[in-house]
Point group: C2
Chain length 190, copies 2
């Protein structure tokens, strides 16, 4: 997605440890006009899929998923990262290792909101080692829902997550795939 | 907001400890059509304010804020609840006590994304004791931005947060104010 790549080049910054910061437009401050264009792009790429629900994980996926969902006219459901007093009833549960926060956390989703009748599109802002996305995939499998695919805004193509998920036979659409990053430059996959 | 009150009565459930669960449409599964109506309502109520930025707090405020922001044509910025490796530079910091999670957590916001030029609308899903909202208000004050007001989807009017914030002279618009809750019923403020 050209508009996104241009924005990453213009406003993204690269930090030590292969960290790409896009916090001025994607995951701290959010440029809603850009995210609407992202929503249109995901709709175009998954227009052949009978999506009934968009699934994401807190926190930074939620806003993007909500904007994207407008183009599919379906609800969003987001997996939560810790037990909350306000959650009860039966839960899907899995564990996810966070690359950013260097810890393992529990991820839960109420069984009420994902069933075998659903056709699910996963949405998230980043894909690196793929742990968060694999957690969501496990939840979808446990629910018996049909996984139509995953839409990622930025994939770090030099980490193994994307390849591993494609090898599982899952349709993965990343709007910008970064093949290499150094101190002052990055290269997108064509 | 009549549509919202009807939805709370239809799909909300009341749990011990004065917990109102609206997780089927507002903060676990999210009904994007309803949240768009919420966005229109906030725009109508704050149409006289020169809003430049919408500020919320992760996690459940983010999706609502993003949908609402479309009606104001401004960016969203969300305060984060813990230190992340991907945040650097100067931060606004405050502490917030969570009623739901029974703990105190640090809340941070990059100084880049809120300045004295901004006119801020705070958005959140719930207002009960007001701790989260007061944390956001502190951040706005520290930034020197103009606080135009706060838009809350559901206020628990029988807890003290709303009164305390109104007494601070802050314009607070809650789309549904619950004055009392018992096992099987709830009463809205007119």
């Amino acid at each position: 997605m050209q508009l996104l790549k241009e924005r990453i080049l213009k406003d993204g910054t690269i930090k030590p440890g292969n960290i790409l910061k896009v916090d001025s437009f994607l995951n701290h401050q959010m440029d809603i006009d850009l995210i609407n264009e992202i929503g249109k792009e995901f709709k175009a790429r998954f227009s052949d899929c009978p999506i009934t629900k968009i699934l994401t994980i807190e926190a930074s996926g939620i806003g993007i998923a909500c904007i994207v969902a407008q183009y599919f006219h379906v609800p969003v459901v987001f997996a939560k990262k810790a037990q909350s007093l306000n959650l009860d009833g039966e839960m899907y549960r899995t564990k996810v290792q966070s690359y950013t926060h260097k810890k393992v956390y529990d991820v839960i989703l109420s069984k009420k909101f994902l069933t075998s009748d659903d056709h699910v599109l996963l949405i998230d802002d980043f894909l690196a080692n793929g742990c968060a996305l694999q957690g969501l995939i496990e939840i979808v499998r446990e629910s018996g829902a049909t996984l139509e695919g995953a839409g990622i805004v930025i994939e770090k193509g030099f980490q193994e997550g994307g390849q591993r998920i494609r090898e599982m036979g899952i349709r993965l659409e990343s709007l910008a795939i970064i093949d290499s990053m150094s101190d002052n430059s990055l290269t997108f996959r064509d």
